[in-house]
């Protein structure tokens, strides 16, 4: 019997972060700009460069703007993510 696959958010709308602190910073920063997100832990980002924590955003979110906001705040995006 195949193990059941966990639910996974759309990688196009997922931002992997380097740590839980940066995930919370990113979530708070985006919230201040009116962008809602959820902190998730996703094994796809559980690499040597990431903690597995990521932000999941609603499909249709302007990801270019999201990345710009996070860059301006100096928030480190983990390598190996879906972006």
């Amino acid at each position: 019997m195949q193990p059941r696959q966990p639910w996974r958010p759309d990688p196009s709308y997922t931002v992997p972060l380097t740590s839980i602190t940066y995930a919370i910073m990113a979530q708070n920063t985006l919230r201040a700009h009116g962008v809602r997100s959820n902190i998730i832990r996703d094994e796809r980002y559980y690499t040597g460069k990431s903690c597995g924590y990521a932000l999941s955003l609603r499909p249709g979110t302007n990801m270019g703007r999201v990345m710009e906001i996070l860059r301006e705040r100096g928030i480190k995006i983990a390598e190996g993510g879906g972006l």
């Binding site: 839980i20 602190t21 902190i39 996703d42 559980y46 990431s50 924590y53 480190k76």
Partner: protein
Amino acid sequence: MIYFDNAATTFPKPVLTREAAGAAFTRYGANPGRGGHTMAIETAQMVYRAREGVARLLHFDKPENVVFTLNCTQGINQAVKGVLRMGDHVVISSLEHNAVYRPLEALRRAGMITLDIAPVDTECPENTVRAFEACMTPKTRLVCCIHGSNVFGTLQPAERLCALAHEHGALFLLDAAQTAGLVDIDMSGALPADFVCLACHKGLYAPTALGALVVGTDTPICTLLEGGSGSLSLEAEMPPFLPDRLEAGTVNTTGIAGLLGGLQFLRRQPRLYENEMTLTHFLFDRLARIPDVILYRRPALPVFSFGIRDMTGEAVADALARRGFALRGGFHCSPLAHRAMGTIETGTARVSLGAFNTMPQVQALLRAVDTVRRTGQ
């Protein structure tokens, strides 16, 4: 028992602290940054709010650079041992606590660094700055200063010493164990220290076993402890980014939750410093009228030392303890300060006030001191 030992740790803790710490046993019981379930995320968010609270207190815009430690001593050890290299020179003040003095003295004895102690002139800040300046050399890598003396309650000219260190290309470490929560520390303005070390269980009214190291520099810092951080888990080395780099192992979530309550308490007490100083100066001035009582410096903080003629500081504190007063006697982990102020033979009795001390308590202490000096016990 009437508590006058707030410089060691504040007591009692506010109801806000107790209630907030209690939430660590119910709402925030998970390990932050280690799991993806709801309680782990919510606990991590609670910890982050505490980082933000500490950063806000210091007018600092990088909550991610607030590193939680076991106590102020651990933060100081991490900072000094994390940046000093073989051959570096360090300058400290003559009022330093052992939290600064011992780690640096250990490095000096190991032949790693050279160390100079700049004499503080408690009457003239200008002379203190000049004394530090005279110690600076091209090899000076770090200047450390205790912001407020834990023995005599004097404030050192930290802003000017920070500027002096930076003019000479050195880092500046502020030991704010006695001042954070009482005295404004502006890391984004007048006091851009490279390291500010806090004892959260003192003026921030958090539970014990919680300190913080606030890092204001981009200088690479070697780790003192290595271990799990919840990040870059497949790497053999600690992460390069803060706070993870300097927070090996699980943080003290109970203490951090309590810190949030303590910070909330402080925000509701905008005149805490003024109120404590009113009582402190009343006590100091009335002690000055009692024969045989020895006083040293009129304090700028709600902590000061005194003595009674022909009694050691420890004997005075013991006699007062038998009468129901909690003070600290002896040397207060500060041999440098006692040498500097001429009290190394006898030590002192130290009285330190907190948010919950009252005028009747102060008056009761004055009566007890008068009795002790008359009876010698």
